[in-house]
Symmetry: C2
Subunit: 339 residues, 2 copies
């Protein structure tokens, strides 16, 4: 399912493929034929790497100001997002795009809205060096870490080597991110056979979600993250956000305004919606998606049913004990947020 070029695959073939592969992989659970699969906790994360990665995740010293950490825009108290239309970067710069959730992001075929990073490791280096986000450089970030004896010792212990470069930094951050899985949503319980886990309205919403065609793109265990799709397939999407989507990566005109389909897991927590953050509420997001992607106008009741279903996708949030960061040493370069 991690097809790197799904936009080249005819839509219906892709959907049918996802369904049948899912049925095959899932063995024989209660609902093996559903186009959505339960999410499971990751099995193979290196715990020492993830623990180091957690420190880095929360460490604002990876930014030029000493004020912005990964968690600033992917806040684990708020569904792994910042709940802002677009994010706030260094020197209060207005970010270009809505911050996607980090939760379950390891299940996406690629990272960023335009998929320009192949995986979490590649993604993790981006914001650190982006002048509009953390505004640092990889070199200065690594210098900072190397100046702190506790970090040096922990990198050595975790990676079994004295090498401390941006590769180890992003590997550790990615390992932490791989732990950020949200299992056991009520919908997962239903998928696994607990008929009482969702109510009649939520079930109606799911049935409509399938029959109306939402599931064509929002499928798989992450209900998304498996394809790029055009924003405004049936009707043009009106926005003043200049993002061009997949085109920015491929320079292929056919992929203009193609964005990675976002996950719907925990969507109750990750407002506002769309790459431009224009939809404040789930009701509005469902309405817009129906019209511009499917050519459908949902009735008030239908909209409410789908929203009710979407709220069953809120899983158990990661239980994160706040790390205690190793203090800077006398030789650590001090942040200069106002220079």
């Amino acid at each position: 399912m991690l097809n790197k070029n799904p936009s080249r695959v005819p839509l219906m073939r892709f959907v049918l493929g996802a369904v049948s592969v899912a049925a095959l992989l899932a063995g024989a659970p209660a609902r093996a034929a559903e186009p959505v699969q339960p999410i499971e906790l990751p099995k193979a994360v290196n715990p020492a790497q993830a623990e180091l990665g957690k420190k880095l995740w929360f460490d604002p010293r990876l930014s030029r100001s000493g004020f912005i950490s990964c968690n600033s825009c992917h806040n684990l108290s708020m569904g792994g997002s910042d709940n802002l239309k677009t994010s706030i970067g260094h020197n209060w710069q207005k970010g270009p795009i809505n911050s996607p959730t980090v939760l379950n992001s390891s299940l996406n075929m690629a990272q960023f809205w335009d998929g320009r990073a192949e995986d979490l490791r590649e993604q993790a280096g981006g914001p650190i060096a982006n002048p509009g986000e953390m505004a640092f450089t990889h070199e200065l970030a690594v210098d900072m870490l190397r100046s702190i004896p506790q970090y040096v010792a922990e990198f050595k212990q975790v990676f079994g080597s004295d090498k401390l470069s941006i590769a180890e930094v992003t590997t550790a951050i990615a390992a932490f991110e791989e732990t950020l899985i949200t299992p056991n949503a009520r919908f997962d319980q239903w998928l696994k056979g607990d008929m009482k886990a969702i109510n009649d309205q939520e079930l109606r919403g799911y049935q409509l979600f399938k029959s109306a065609g939402c599931v064509a793109c929002h499928n798989g265990p992450n209900l998304g993250g498996t394809s790029f799709q055009k924003m405004g397939l049936i009707e043009p999407y009106q926005t003043d956000n200049p993002a061009e989507g997949r085109y920015a990566v491929t320079k292929n005109d056919a992929e203009r305004f193609n964005f990675k389909v976002p996950t719907l897991r925990n969507v109750e927590l990750t407002y506002p919606y769309f790459h431009d953050g224009a939809a404040d509420t789930l009701a509005r997001a469902v309405d817009t998606m129906g019209r511009i992607q499917l050519g459908k106008t949902f009735s008030t009741q239908e909209n409410a049913d789908i929203v009710a279903f979407l709220k069953t996708l809120t899983g158990e949030q990661p239980r994160v004990v706040l790390p205690i960061l190793p203090p800077s040493s006398d030789t650590t370069q001090r942040p200069r947020p106002f220079d």
Copy 2:
């Protein structure tokens, strides 16, 4: 010891008073006559209030931008401070003063560097409404909370009433802050009779800390927080920071540049030092304090001994499980960080 006007008490009488009261209160521990007492975990915090307060502590929706929370400037991963010279406020405004640690702050006789808040409850309302910090209003903060059913229910459960005002908000935040005590530093172990808990250099440093006179102001369980003192007692302090200290509150000329003596607990983690954040390292802070407060120039060895002692004051940091914040409802006013 919570004398509200300690600056009116002659210095030596105050110090002797602190020692004898401490000896009295402490029963008969191993070192009852020391001017510093071990720090103990609080006994009487209301756990439900503190749990609600923890959510509020981490909730950036208490700021106008939706980006700044209490934890932004009093980061519990970094000794309860932001490790910046002065803090970053709404719209990247440069703060006027160094962010004091929240750790053990319930032990201070008053809050803020100039003591303008009597207690943690009074303090907690300050940054929310300060145009240079969170830049919100109490009314809008309360409106936000009232628009979120989970918050409304939790306030009702915790306070046993439908009343949800800034008073309940600050009461809950203060209850959480009261849990942020850092017991069992190596120095506390030594105070309680474990002779091996600190080494010879650290003990020399403590002895010099006492004999040189540091302890005249940095005493009690929090090694500070018990008096206002003039910054630059013997020699004027050179700074371009315009803060006037206690004078700003009392308009009494004699209290110009009088600041609350900061705690030295966890001082290894709470750099940079002084109200203007001008001292990047403990070595520099000790040197400056010796000269301008005591008229003493410590030798390199003496300075290193005192710094070694100060590092024994790092206690067990609070183990904080990151709260999951209740999501905004459809009627919650959205933050407008760039308006």
